[in-house]
Symmetry: C2
Subunit: 119 residues, 2 copies
């Protein structure tokens, strides 16, 4: 058993839109990601997804609204709900989602990562 | 869909060792708790448990070691591992665990809460 310091983990990488796995709880992955720019529209058919903002401001667009998330705020996007994250500046996020979750859902994009690195 | 601001949620309560549910992701509860003093030795037979420290310093005792967690640090306690949280001063924690998880495991104590409030 080893404690996980979020700041130290974020310092280990600098690439965008490439979530890293930092832990596992009951079949769910805890992932960290740095993001900047626009992600693709996508949804997760079977998985709710939790976004928690560690640093910066993330906008999550939905078809009928958009929600701005700042440091210390979280949003749970229910399964099946199409969304598009946008970061004007660099944002550090923590994700909590089932190990089966693909970050672009069923959408294939140049941003799609097939296998997540563990750090 | 509504964003959750952790600080605002923590401002809604002041009792210790009484986790509140702030959200649900794929059958897992996200809970917040304020703790101070010593909790009981217990384990969760079937559930891994994630502790994330939002404010303060929490010590988690195990039979062969103890781990000190500070703000921005997390620990995943695997199912079945007996542990005892201790907070010398008030600590704010976020817990992530299956909805079925009882905070004192199978141990009945005066601290045991049978039903968690949603806030």
């Amino acid at each position: 058993m080893k404690k996980i310091n979020l700041k130290e983990k974020f310092d280990l990488f600098s690439d965008y839109w490439n979530p890293k796995i930092i832990g596992e709880v009951n079949g769910h992955d805890i992932k960290l990601a740095k993001v900047k720019g626009e992600f693709v529209w996508h949804n997760h058919k079977n998985e709710d997804e939790l976004f928690y903002i560690v640093k910066g401001t993330l906008i999550i667009k939905f078809h009928k609204e958009e929600i701005e998330l700042n440091e210390g705020e979280m949003l749970i996007v229910p399964k099946g709900v199409e969304h598009k994250p946008i970061a004007k500046n660099e944002v550090w996020i923590l994700l909590f989602e089932p190990g089966s979750t693909k970050h672009t859902g069923e959408v294939k994009s140049k941003l799609t990562v097939e296998k997540y690195e563990k750090i």
